[in-house]
């Protein structure tokens, strides 16, 4: 069963085609990496899925049937889609715990919230920082807090835009472990990353994007061997 279906999606900015007839299907239980050179349209794809950018045409389906294309950002989030942004986007004036409480979402029952907060704090290793203002966290801690805000609502589709950018090797390795632990049969994870070793460690399959189009789809080993991928991206 597909968790996410992108069907012939076009996103244009003026005369520029940021996404050009893009089609993509991610299965439930899968971790999919989307890679590609700068400006390929990776972030734009997430903007379209989360309702921030309206596509010119095409459809975005959640779980084969639920059409997200015309939904508002909040409706898409409530349907179970959460995203970590490329630039860490946490609420600086709130504490770590308050950020995570907002991450639980408006529909989280008050009874289950304390347990969710506790488990998210331990998953992200931020227990000791629970009462720190998010604005005062180090870069790596912000990245993890934002991943925590994504997890707290137990989403069925997780979108991660460069989760290990600016992290140390040790932090990158533990982020890879965390993503491995997030795998569930009823959940799909889509990761955008430039760090190929990280992609190899976490992803089942990769999609290579170039100028808004799919250049390649398959295993990371396959991507490394593909002549066009080498030419526009990996070979440089």
């Amino acid at each position: 069963m597909s968790a996410l279906v992108i069907d012939n999606l076009h996103v244009v900015f003026g005369a520029f085609r940021a996404l050009d007839a893009l089609s993509l299907a991610v299965d439930s239980g899968e971790v999919r990496a989307v890679i590609g050179p700068n400006g390929a349209g990776k972030t734009t794809l997430l903007d379209a899925i989360t309702g921030i950018t309206r596509p010119r045409s095409g459809r975005i389906l959640l779980g084969d049937t639920y059409d997200l294309t015309a939904c508002s950002e909040a409706e898409i989030a409530r349907a179970g889609v959460r995203r970590k942004f490329q630039k860490p986007s946490v609420f600086p004036a709130l504490t770590v715990r308050e950020n995570l409480a907002i991450g639980c979402g408006p529909e989280c029952p008050a009874r289950t919230r304390p347990a969710r907060l506790a488990s998210t704090l331990s998953e992200t290793g931020l227990e000791a920082r629970a009462d720190t203002l998010a604005g005062a966290l180090a870069h790596g801690e912000k990245q993890w807090l934002e991943i925590g805000m994504v997890l707290a609502s137990e989403p069925r589709l997780i979108l991660l835009d460069e989760p290990v950018a600016g992290l140390s090797d040790a932090e990158t390795a533990s982020t890879a472990d965390l993503i491995g632990a997030l795998r569930r049969p009823d959940r799909a994870i889509l990761v955008i990353e430039h760090d190929m070793a990280f992609v190899e460690a976490v992803a089942d399959r990769v999609t290579v994007l170039h100028e808004g189009r799919t250049l390649f789809e398959g295993s990371m080993t396959g991507a490394r061997a593909d002549a066009r991928v080498i030419e526009v991206f990996l070979g440089r």
Partner: protein, 370 residues
Amino acid sequence: MSGALDRPHRAPLRRIGPTLGRDPLLTGLIALIAATALGLLALQPAPYLINMVGQLAAFAILAVSLDLVWGYLGILSLGHGLFFAIGGYVCAMHLLAHGYALTGVAPDLMQFMGWKSLPAYWTGLTSAPYALALALALAAGVAFLFGLASFRSRVNGVYFSIISQALVYVAMLLMFRNDTGLGGNNGMTGFALLFGWPMGAPGVVTGLAVTTLGVLAGVLVGARALVASPVGRRMLACRDDEARLRTLGYGTTRLKLGIWCLSAMIAALAGVLYVPQVGIINPRILSPDLSIEIAVWVAIGGMGRLGGAVIGAVAVNALKFWLSAAMPEAWPFILSGLVLVVVLGLPNGLLDLAALRWTPTWLRRGGPLA
């Protein structure tokens, strides 16, 4: 637009002290307000002084209403005078209708307008509870329509501020017209009675001031409860990154609209309390300068801390009361000077002074020998 989300955050906003939850400054301020009210009742100072305290308290309520939307939600209204005026005008109508009903003496407004009796839209305004309800409902209604149109089409930031300023300006032009039916240029004055009591009686003056102080304390307690609640955290989140909050499943239009209408109602309440104390209302209450000044009070006191709004409103207006007697022409320059000092030196307003522990640089570095 990814632009809005990918831009770097503002410098982490300092939460000076525990703004949500316990706030010693605010607790102290509420105690001070209570003490002032008791002082007025016990000491019975000169009526003009009591009256001034009452007016300052009304301005403080107005400032708190703006701080709720500006400091906590990031919506800078430069048109809050509109809601203040709605409260003020409805209250003035009530006072005239009430005085006319009890004394039978036609207010100047009726002669000026050439009316034999009060027109239909004054019906019911002899009743104080109805007038209060009408003032709040009108303010909420106008705020709702304006907010809905703006927030749904995602008019934000400086665009919203400019439109809000335009709105108050249009309202002023409308009220300057005699055929709007609310006194035009002259406005309304000559209020004779309040709840059947002669307006200038010492008990009435004290009663008004003490009531206004009480309402101010109540508004502060309520506003503190609001900002300390989960809704308050969402307000701060919305202020700092509205797009992010939406992608976490929260419909921010409803949040903004709700708080915006609440703020308008508090501003109207301030107007209701202000007009009987100042004894007159005219379209100048809708002048853009007043609406900008409200923002200046909040900025000077320190935005995003309810106590700051009170301190700013009281400090600036006390200075204004004093100066407008001593040297009225200097006021605009002094106000501009204050704004410059705050903008350049005290980003959190006067509250920065309280938090300041000034140590000379050479001492902080451990002295010249270190």
